[in-house]
């Protein structure tokens, strides 16, 4: 159950940041920073979630927010961002205890999630990346 909540938090963070950044046209930094601030204020204070889980969800949502800084050229729609959000949640579950306390760990996990999705797009020729590869060939 906790793992499902973590996956959802990853999706909320990444989609929220991407949406603020590109659909509200506020830029990647504002999108991620605002989503980070909201995650830190809202998740730990939700009445129906234990404080420890709330803190974890805030961290995962923040990781998602960093992933949401990706450019529209690389991820042109929200559906792809949802997939990256799932990657963020999964990697967060797997790597929660790694490099504890090192600033930038969350952003690195976000970069791994984005690069994993871009790699899958390239291999399976999905969306714009796939089309570009076909045009080159």
């Amino acid at each position: 159950m906790d793992n499902i909540a973590i996956l959802i938090a990853g999706i909320i963070g990444s989609v929220g940041s991407y949406w603020i950044s590109l659909y509200l046209n506020k830029g990647a930094t504002m999108g991620a920073a605002l989503m980070t601030l909201l995650s830190g204020l809202v998740f730990p204070n939700l009445p129906f979630i234990e404080p420890a889980l709330g803190a974890t969800l805030a961290v995962v949502s923040t990781t998602g927010a960093y992933a949401g800084m990706i450019s529209k050229k690389n991820v042109p729609n929200i559906v792809e961002m949802v997939v990256i959000g799932v990657f963020v949640g999964t990697i967060s579950i797997l790597a929660m205890t790694t490099y504890s306390g090192v600033g930038g760990k969350l952003g690195t996990m976000a970069a791994i999630s984005c690069l994993a999705w871009l790699g899958i797009k390239k291999v399976f020729k999905i969306g714009a990346v796939g089309k570009k590869e076909e045009e080159k060939a």
Binding site: G40, G68, L115
Partner: protein, 119 residues
């Protein structure tokens, strides 16, 4: 705010960003996530795009635990390290979400290595 986008300002703002985030995180007690969010939002409101990005990226280093950056002095050193790394890696992996975090993690580990030399 009318601040020139150049390498010197990027390094100065990086140092300020890490120091402020570290203070909010460990001294004021906001926690890493909220401290990063506060610094990032203020940076995005006040500064032009590239400098706001540098401030947000540097802020990740200030999220480090006391086991990595034990004092404000070392936070300033960490800020200088991340500022230089940002300036040197401007063109690498542009547009990949998480690039800033990777830059910050590298800088935090370099800072930790420097601290271990002096302690």
């Amino acid at each position: 705010m009318n601040i020139k986008v150049n390498n010197r300002n990027m390094v100065i703002l990086s140092i300020m960003s890490v120091a402020i985030t570290w203070l909010l995180n460990h001294e004021v007690g906001y926690g890493a996530v909220v401290s990063n969010g506060v610094v990032g939002v203020i940076g995005a409101i006040l500064l032009p795009g590239p400098l706001a990005g540098a401030v947000f990226t540097s802020s990740f280093v200030g999220m480090s635990g006391l086991n990595v950056i034990p004092s404000l002095t070392w936070a300033v050193v960490g800020g200088a390290v991340v500022g230089v790394v940002i300036v040197l890696t401007k063109e690498i992996y542009v547009g990949i979400g998480g690039k800033g975090g990777t830059t910050a993690a590298t800088s935090a580990l370099i800072t930790k290595a420097i601290i271990s030399i002096f302690n």
